[in-house]
Symmetry: C2
Subunit: 233 residues, 2 copies
DNA sequence: TCAAAAGTGTTTCGGGTACACCCATGT
DNA sequence: ACATGGGTGTACCCGAAACACTTTTGA
């Protein structure tokens, strides 16, 4: 509620916790950026991608732009996570960070999968990240928890998969995120009961019995929500 | 992630959505402040209490201080709600608002219950608030929804009541917040099953059969959470 | 004695969970 | 023929929801 103000102002940044799936589809990965050797503090540390907000754009637009600029990525899902404003979180001064949680499809993950050892932008397995700059380890943990709870009442698992996917793919996503195995029959019954997956006229052929491919029907999902029906697990 | 920066900076404020209970214990109320007639824009409109963050204090501390300063209130519950950063939300310039959701006990509500018609700080029934300044109607709706969902999996209903309360008091709180009536026997069984209410050696006498008073045992509740047990409804 | 709120158990129903076998394909 | 993942149905159990009467007090 600013009257013409004389208050000193904090910097406002957006930090991004972007999750994807390993090419092997068996681990959750997160996008990190290596800070330049010359940039004090935390030089050489890995950190979450982020950047200053622009004056004329919304926070969400800042989030998407930042990611486009720093990693050339397009998100399939984006939600605001939390705002971190501890006065000590950045040693250089008061920086308030609005953190966002993002998800990408596998095509996007492959963008930085090339030279993992040397590149300064790369995907890291979530349970094997190095020590991060600033309070970013804390942000990452917060995002991971949020993903785990959210996935069980919103079908955001599909945003980690290609447009067309099999039920086993989807189950694997849930198992990876939740960190426990699920019963195949119960999972299928549950998911199909929501009536938000539509079968395609395609099957995946991979040396075994072909698997039915589905796509997520987001209109149907919106209908469901409006009707007050809850997606659960 | 600021390097020594040349970016223009946005203002950062904290806006507070503080809920309480009507003295009659039958409505949810929210604290509003009337903007001075001279303060463009939205002069004379009612608005949520709020203020600029101080450079050396945390966001949460800013929230509590703001409320203390503008209304002399002490909160029994406080949580970050969401950060609103639409470039157009304040016509005077870029203002990013970190919104907080707060709850107060009935003693605090009575502070501004005196001369409701004339005072410039007063409690309003949530489903009867006037048109608010800025995007505050939107903030209020967001907070109200959050309260409704949160109350069903965290026992924050107790933060709207005095230290000592009866089971009927607590049930009424839930009914007011959720907007529907609950079965008395099921409610009691459920609540007592969590083992977080301890009976006091006191009864409330109000012209009818005396009612057992309880207090909320927050240590026990923390234990529960650690054991992974979930409070539900 | 009446009005008003406090307090108390049992039955029913539905969803969650556990569980094992056959099918289609490629090698 | 065999290995690999795809696909399907049923029984049990527990927690949620529905439901009505007795008790205690003040007026």
């Amino acid at each position: 509620m600013s009257e013409a103000t004389v208050y000193p102002r904090a910097d406002v940044t957006v930090d991004m916790v972007v999750f994807g799936l390993d090419p092997d589809h068996d681990r959750l990965v997160v996008l990190l950026i290596k800070r330049a050797q010359a940039s004090q503090p935390f030089d050489g540390y890995w950190a979450l991608p982020g950047g200053f907000i622009a004056m004329e754009e919304s926070l969400e637009a800042s989030a998407r732009r930042t990611l486009e600029r720093e990693a050339g990525l397009t998100l399939s899902y984006l939600e605001q996570l939390y705002t971190f404003g501890d006065p000590q979180r950045d040693p250089r001064g008061r920086v308030i960070s609005v953190a966002y949680l993002g998800l990408v499809r596998p095509e996007e993950v492959s963008i930085h999968a090339d030279h993992p050892a040397t590149a300064d932008v790369r995907w890291w397995a979530v349970d094997d990240v190095p020590e991060l700059a600033f309070d970013h380890t804390h942000l990452l943990e917060t995002a991971h928890r949020r993903l785990q709870t959210k996935v069980s009442w919103q079908p955001i698992g599909v945003d980690l998969l290609p447009e067309a996917f099999t039920l086993s793919d989807l189950q694997r996503v849930y198992e990876i995120i939740l960190g426990r195995s699920l019963d195949k029959r119960n999972f299928r019954r549950k998911i199909m009961g929501f009536d938000v997956l539509v079968p395609l006229d395609q099957y995946r052929q991979d040396g075994h019995r072909p698997a039915q491919l589905f796509r997520f029907d987001s209109e149907r999902y919106t209908e469901l929500l409006d009707k007050g029906l809850a997606f659960e697990l």
